[in-house]
């Protein structure tokens, strides 16, 4: 039987297993908004860690980061590890989100902002930011699946077919049991992801004669890839900061991951979640980058770097079965990210837009229904975006998966001063939050669309500077919600002390 048959067979098995897990999760599904979107804040440490890992690490890593490494070298490692270093900030933010989530019953990070700033407009502004900028990020996951299935099947599966499969699965798994089905499928797939990708790396390194020979060949063949700024000056400091800055604050700027800070069932679960993720992230990043270097040696001369992984998997040295299992693992990881995004966007729409602005008296049941309707709508929008991008002429760094992901995060970065202010600055005001988010986001969009980079700085860098200055300036000239700020930050001060948090 042909490789294409086995690819389709693998996809069918994957869908069946994923569906089975999602339906099992549904048996435990209770009622209510908090249950659907947060699994009632009762998720264990092991599942939390794997789910956080699979949501964060997805098609971007095994397709985008591999491609970026292939194309631009070791700077890609620094860029991705800067994100992981940013996770150090979790020691500040994880306990804070978790504690206030329990005390005030927040469902979305935007609801936290609305309450803290005593202004629904703040949550709505952050919600719109998420809706606008998470669509390209979701589309990136779909593109990853499309390229991968196309490459592994030798072109037999069109890119758009892979995208459609991903969309349908993501809709199903986020709708069946909300966060429970998302977290359970994430956890299962995260294990497959890391085990199979490590296995392929092992095969590649063995084919190159072991680690020592692999490194020697790389140093001899492409020494420029091992320094910055290398590969034609690709990793100049402006590019590094432009790509890494949004990544650094990913843990709080991206609501699909910051919402996860509400779900651990205990402090022990929180510790397991963070510790497990850090270990997973470190290993997975190294695997991805080494995979990119391996691809550079084994399949040189590609014009579209996002094809590095599919081409590597289609080499004869990789057993077909292993290539298909890896393809399934990456596909699942991509889907687990987009279903998390869909679930978060639906909760944000239902809680912060619909209930917050349109119909304040909506029942919990009505709110949940609205959220469930938003899931397929957002999925279709992401699908259309992904389809459009894949139809563009190949090549060009601007349409590669990694820069596109980072560009999306650049927009979300504009909420970061507002989030810092909520937890650390009593003087922060709602107007400061809204003005800074809107002005920063508009600036990022204008610079992204026009390609303008004054002084060579990237859109996210400019947006962040303007946003932070406006946030402080406007806050200092307007009146803060003093009582709420005292109560919110005062509560945290006491609770943090009790838990020995910093």
């Amino acid at each position: 039987m042909s490789a294409t048959f086995w690819v389709w067979f693998g996809i069918a098995v994957y869908i069946a297993v994923g569906l089975g897990i999602a339906l099992m999760a549904r048996r435990r599904l209770g009622v209510g908004v908090s249950e659907f979107f947060l699994a009632n804040r009762r998720v264990g440490g092991f599942v939390s860690a794997l789910s956080y890992s699979a949501t964060t690490y997805s098609a971007f890593m095994m397709v985008g980061l591999v491609g970026l490494t292939y194309f631009t070298g070791v700077g890609a490692l620094g860029f991705e590890l800067t994100y992981l270093c940013g996770m150090f900030m979790m020691v500040f933010f994880l306990p804070r989100f978790w504690l206030v989530g329990r005390k005030y019953g927040y469902v979305s990070p935007m609801e936290l902002l609305s309450d803290r700033y005593q202004n629904r407009g703040v949550g709505a502004t952050a919600a719109i930011l998420a809706l606008v900028f998470l669509v390209p990020y979701g589309a990136v996951q779909l593109m990853g699946v499309g390229y991968l299935m196309n490459g592994v099947s030798g072109g037999a599966i069109p890119v758009v077919a892979g995208i459609i499969i991903a969309v349908v699965c993501a809709i199903a798994w986020s709708s069946i049991a909300g966060l429970r089905s998302v977290a359970w499928t994430d956890a299962f797939q995260a294990l497959i992801m890391i085990v199979t990708s490590a296995a392929v790396l092992g095969v590649v390194i063995a084919a190159l004669g072991g680690f020592g020979a692999f490194f020697s060949k790389l140093e001899a063949a492409s020494p420029g890839l091992l320094t910055v700024p290398a590969a034609g000056g690709a990793w100049n400091i402006n590019m590094f900061i432009g790509l890494a800055l949004p990544w650094l604050f990913f843990l709080i700027s991206n609501p699909q991951v910051s919402q996860r800070l509400f779900i651990p069932k205990s402090v022990t679960a929180m510790k397991q979640m963070l510790g497990g993720f850090l270990i997973f992230g470190f290993i997975y990043t190294l695997i991805s980058v080494l995979w990119g270097f391996g691809a550079h040696l084994l399949v040189p001369g590609l014009e579209n770097a996002d094809l590095a992984t599919p081409k590597l998997l289609s080499l004869t040295m990789i057993p077909t079965g292993l290539a298909i299992v890896v393809m399934i693992g990456i596909t699942a990881a991509a889907i687990s990210t987009i279903d998390s995004i869909l679930l978060t966007l639906s909760s944000v729409w239902a809680r912060d837009i619909h209930k917050g602005l349109i119909n304040r008296k909506v029942s919990e049941k009505g709110e949940l229904r609205v959220g469930q309707w938003v899931i397929p709508i957002m999925a279709i929008i992401a699908f259309l975006f992904a389809w459009w991008v894949t139809e563009q002429p190949e090549g060009g760094l601007n349409l590669m998966i990694a820069p596109l992901s980072s560009a999306a995060s650049a927009g979300l970065l504009m909420a970061v001063p507002t989030i810092f202010g909520a937890f650390f600055w009593k003087r922060a005001t709602a107007l400061g939050a809204m003005v800074s988010c809107i002005a920063g986001a508009v600036l990022v969009l204008v610079f992204q669309l026009t390609g303008e980079r004054p002084l060579g700085w990237w859109p996210g860098t400019w947006g962040f500077i303007v946003c932070a200055v406006l946030f402080v300036g406007v806050s200092l000239s307007t009146k803060p919600p003093k009582e709420k700020a005292e109560e919110f930050i005062g509560y945290l001060r006491e609770a943090l002390k009790k838990g020995n948090f910093i």
Binding site: V74, G75, L77, G78, L81, T82, L84, C85, M87, F88, M89, M90, V91, F92, P95, L99, R102, F215, L218, E219, P223, G224, L226, T227, V228, P229, I237, F240, I241, A244, L248, S266, V267, T268, M270, K271, L274, G275, L278, I279, F282, T285, L286, A495, K498, G499, N500, F501, I502
Partner: protein, 62 residues
């Protein structure tokens, strides 16, 4: 200095190294023992320091 201030200072120090070492010290070292090794050790240091903090967390009333 409070524990929190120490934490933020340490984080800022790590970020300064993130730029300073690869771009100003290792820029001509075209080997795996250059920027690749630096970033690997640097990230490991960030992870270990996060573990040092989180292992001190204790249960609070829920």
């Amino acid at each position: 200095m409070t524990k929190s201030a120490w934490g933020w200072t340490w984080f800022a120090f790590l970020l300064a190294l993130d730029i300073a070492i690869p771009w100003y010290v290792l820029t001509s070292v075209e080997k795996m023992s250059g920027a690749f090794l630096f970033w690997t050790i640097w990230a490991a240091a960030a992870i270990i320091s996060a573990f040092i903090v989180l292992l001190k967390w204790r249960g609070v009333e829920e």
